[in-house]
């Protein structure tokens, strides 16, 4: 990936309608199933739960240029819950960052698509992730850098609810408030499940909105699968001044595939041939 020296002041930005976004999210889900099935490994549950949020960001909200992935003025995106990178790879491929044929190589030797996202291997990946609880701190760093460099890009970070058990998330939350990072927005993919089982059983997060509020953040709560809520919330986040914003998105792990929905076992397991076929036909049906 060559470093770019473009003087674009504004990236050509595909601004999709809500309806087109819904269709794109279906395509992203198809890619996720295809990719993980082909790799015979990966994390479908958390990829599917974040599909609508990531689609809205890449196809409507973010100021980006797929032909110029290193554009210094671009909005930054970090999927801090890096195990869900199939959703990221799908969105990047659909947005034109790289050829879709790469999706067949997920987790293979010599692939640009690593098991957890690698910023040095995949065009469009702004931060290397996979060890939970670090992406938000990286986001804080990028948001602070925008000040130093006098740039007005926005930094978007998606974290998992399980991931919010890491103490470092709250260290970053304090920092975001201290420095009044209104160019930083966190979306919590609040699907209620982590690796072992339901989050409430493993380590309850308690009142998440109250926690973020207490840390000094502007808090919004939405349905993370309703484009008509996702898009306005993301757009509102950009307008909030003086404090960082967190959007707590209620989601369903495995969303879109009936047998994966809300089933902890689908956190990190690939569908077999038959399951993949059913999953794909179920997702396709959502197009009509």
């Amino acid at each position: 990936m060559p470093a770019s020296n473009s003087n674009h002041s504004k990236a050509p930005n595909g601004k999709m309608s809500i309806e087109d976004l819904q269709k794109m999210a279906v395509q992203v889900r198809l890619d996720i199933i295809h990719m993980i099935h082909k790799a015979k490994a990966g994390h479908p549950g958390g990829s599917l739960s974040a599909a609508d949020i990531v689609t809205a960001l890449y196809f409507r909200v973010m100021n980006i240029d797929p032909h110029n992935p290193d554009w210094p003025d671009r909005d930054r995106f970090i999927l801090s819950k890096g195990h869900a990178c199939p959703v990221w790879y799908a969105a990047l491929a659909e947005r034109g960052y790289f050829d879709k044929k790469h999706l067949d190589t997920l987790r293979r030797l010599n692939s640009i698509l690593q098991g957890h996202a690698d910023m040095k291997k995949t065009p469009g990946v702004d931060m290397t992730v996979g060890s939970l609880g670090q992406g938000l701190s990286a986001g804080v760093g990028m948001a602070l850098a925008a000040r130093v460099l006098k740039k007005d890009y926005h930094v978007w970070v998606v974290i998992g609810d399980g991931e919010a058990q890491e103490g470092a998330i709250w260290e970053a939350a304090m920092a975001g408030a201290k420095w009044k990072l209104d160019n930083l927005t966190v979306v919590v993919d609040n699907n209620g499940i982590q690796n072992d089982t339901f989050t409430d059983e493993v380590m309850p997060l308690g009142d998440l909105p109250a926690k973020w509020k207490a840390f000094g953040w502007h808090v919004m709560e939405i349905d993370g699968h309703d484009m008509a809520q996702i898009v306005p919330a993301l757009e509102e986040a950009k307008t909030i001044k003086g404090i960082p914003t967190v959007i707590i998105a209620k989601t369903v792990k495995g969303k879109g595939v009936s047998f994966m929905e809300n089933v902890p076992a689908w956190h990190g397991k690939a569908p077999n041939d038959e399951q993949a076929e059913i999953a794909i036909s179920e997702i396709r049906r959502q197009l009509s």
């Binding site: 790799a39 490994a41 890096g82 987790r107 293979r108 030797l109 010599n110 692939s111 698509l113 690593q114 098991g115 957890h116 690698d118 290397t128 992730v129 996979g130 060890s131 939970l132 609880g133 399980g162 991931e163 058990q165 890491e166 103490g167 982590q194 690796n195 072992d196 089982t197 989050t199 493993v202 380590m203 990190g268």
Partner: protein, 353 residues
């Protein structure tokens, strides 16, 4: 050519028979050693009420969820919060409990390293750190989950005990031994299945390296998942080139069995160390430190060089990064050539002893 079984010790004959066949990994019974740990801890829980298990949201991936089902009062899932888990384990150990804190090796040895150092090792508390996905044994997950440095890091802590068993039966023995040992122990397990090499008769003792194949041309010292690779290399070298390599299974990296290593060095005159870990600070370094001060003979290291690896199937990744039998065989050829030059030096024996 037939395989000389008499050269092998404790290695199951079925394994010895397969050493030169290409389908060894497909046909030999195998198990990821993380699951052997989970079985052993379940048995220990039955016998010793002081055993408690701490998890960090990967209990299902390691198998300690079975302990949680059986002993709900002695099982604690801290969620995705490894640092909290490690320091809490330290606190529990102060009361006489024997905590086994289980997570992936990257998080056990690196995410929570400060807790592991300052709260566990400095006060020398009786915490057992059960680390799965050690070395580059998690292939497909990629670099963030590959703990290629854990052995080096843990070895650097004062008073640490570091064990990296090669297969499931000796993993179970290691877990029992760790429970009986007073002080912190780091146990390193594989994510991927490795062939079952030994049976319960293996004489496992913390700090005791075991010769599992005789040979006087060169000593190959190996740990964890590279023990099988060392055995394959040794048998191929014997059959194809008449080289007799002694293979030493060094499951305890620290404390190192200095006697066994020095004896092998003196009897063979050349050493190769094979580890699925970086070549800085791990088993290779431990052996080199010992030899350079006591018996400086030619030595080569097989390990991860100054690079991170990548995603891919386990065997493909370790092959690409230079950790399989052909690489060990090459290192043996190299060290033997060096040995031949080395021992031609005049007055050498006076110089090195």
């Amino acid at each position: 050519m037939t395989i000389n079984h008499a050269l092998y010790h404790y290695v199951r004959p079925e394994v010895v028979d397969k050493l030169t066949s290409d389908d060894l990994f497909k046909t030999l019974p195998s198990q990821a050693t993380r699951y052997a740990y989970a079985e052993a801890i379940l048995e220990l829980g039955e016998k010793d009420p002081r055993i408690v298990v701490l998890d960090a949201d990967v209990s299902k991936s390691i198998g300690t969820n079975k302990f949680a089902e059986k002993f709900p009062d002695r099982s604690f899932n801290f969620g995705i919060a490894e640092q909290n888990m490690m320091a809490a384990a330290a606190g529990m150990a102060t009361t006489g409990l024997i905590p086994f804190a289980s997570t992936y090796a990257v998080f056990a040895s690196m995410r929570a390293l400060d807790q592991v150092r300052n709260s566990i090792h400095y006060p020398h508390l009786n915490v057992k750190i059960a680390a799965s996905h050690s070395g580059i044994t998690p292939g497909p997950d990629g670099v963030t989950h590959q703990a290629q440095e854990d052995i080096s890091i843990m070895r650097a802590l004062a008073g640490s005990c570091v064990i990296a068993p090669a297969d499931s039966p000796t993993t179970k023995q290691a877990v029992y031994a760790a429970a009986a040992y007073e002080g912190p122990v780091y146990l390193s397990f594989t994510r991927d299945p490795v062939p079952i090499l030994f049976d319960e008769s293996f004489p496992f003792e913390i700090g005791k390296a075991v010769t599992i194949r005789d040979g006087d041309d060169v000593a190959v010292i190996a740990m964890r998942d590279l023990v099988i690779q060392a055995l394959i290399a040794a048998e191929r070298l014997a059959q194809e080139e008449g080289i007799q390599a002694r293979v030493i299974y060094c499951h305890t990296i620290k404390p190192l069995d200095t006697e066994a290593v020095l004896q092998a060095a003196q009897e063979t005159g050349a050493v190769v160390v094979a580890e699925n870990n970086v070549t800085f600070g791990g088993l290779g370094s431990a052996v080199a430190e010992l030899l350079v001060a006591n018996y400086p003979i030619p030595m080569r290291q097989i390990g991860v060089k100054d690079t991170f690896a990548e995603s891919g199937p386990y065997l493909e990744v370790i092959h690409k990064y230079g950790l399989t039998a052909p690489h060990i065989a090459n290192a043996v050829r190299e060290v033997l050539a060096h040995k031949a030059r080395f021992f031609k030096q005049p007055n050498l024996s006076a110089a090195i002893v």
